[in-house]
Amino acid sequence: MIRRGFIILALVLFGLVFARLIGAYQEQSVLRPLAEHYVTQGPRELGAANVITGILITYRGFDTLGEVAVLFMVAAGLGLLLRRDGDGPSVSANTPLRPASELVVTGTEVLLPLIFVFGAYVIMHGHLSAGGGFQGGAIVASAVLLLLVTQPLTRLRLDLLSITESFAGVLFVCIGLLGLILAGGFLDSRFLPQGQLGAFFSAGAIPIISILLGIKVGAELSVIIDRFRR
């Protein structure tokens, strides 16, 4: 009972803090100086119509590299945490699986290629419209999840996925180094021609980095999903 009282007290205090914050918050009517620089100069400097992708891949590219490293660490850590012990009970081995219904199987067959194509589209058009490497990679991984839900016995080629993912990572760093040598700094995307703003081949190296990012994120998330299937 005392515990419950403390919980409610903590929640009420938090609620008061939040209420004060919301009450005092004034909606912005002009951009902050840094944001204004990104929005006005970003498209001119980088040639990327989508300012957010420009920020993620070039201005904060190092951040993105670290984030991909975190995803890699999680995939590796899950492999360590969820490794099958020799005598550990395996759910899929002991209980016979009921096959998925025809509706689900047919739906998967129809949807799977479409989801992959949509994921590829989102990855490739990250510099032009809403999307980018992370988002597209997540869509691709959702297709893998759908496949594993309908056909739980599918074996993913984990070795192939790891190799693809490592290559994408190494190429990502190599492009970053090219930016260091040929342009202004590490992960600077301006060493390729900028092209017409809004055209498919534009924005320097941003589409290439975006594709590598999409491949890497898609492979890593697929590995993470696969680790949870025991």
């Binding site: 903590a10 951040d63 809403a130």
Partner: protein, 123 residues
Amino acid sequence: MGFPPVSHLVLATGCSLVLIGFYGMLTHRNILRIIIGFSLIDTGIHMILVATGYITGGTAPIIDEALSLDAAATRSVDPIPSALVVTAIVIGLSVTAIMLAYAIRLYETKQTLSLDAFTESKW
């Protein structure tokens, strides 16, 4: 009294989600429910972050027919919180995945997910 501005609504929703998640984490003894509470807090924080980037009457910071290069400075929302939230979503996913993996391991050792069974580190 007029309709509150949209960023205040999103802020209020985000704060409520944080409170709901906090309540869930504090009251439940099941590890999976605590993880769900954490995810709610995570989502609430993302909403708060995005809401702070809203500019009155702004649109997505993507240069196309709807938003010319010259109008971008006045008519687009702040792109920095959006870019940060992409990062935050990925990190939130990573933390959730690790927590779920630990939950699986804990279940294997005690055959239960209730916190009351794990008393070894209790003082």
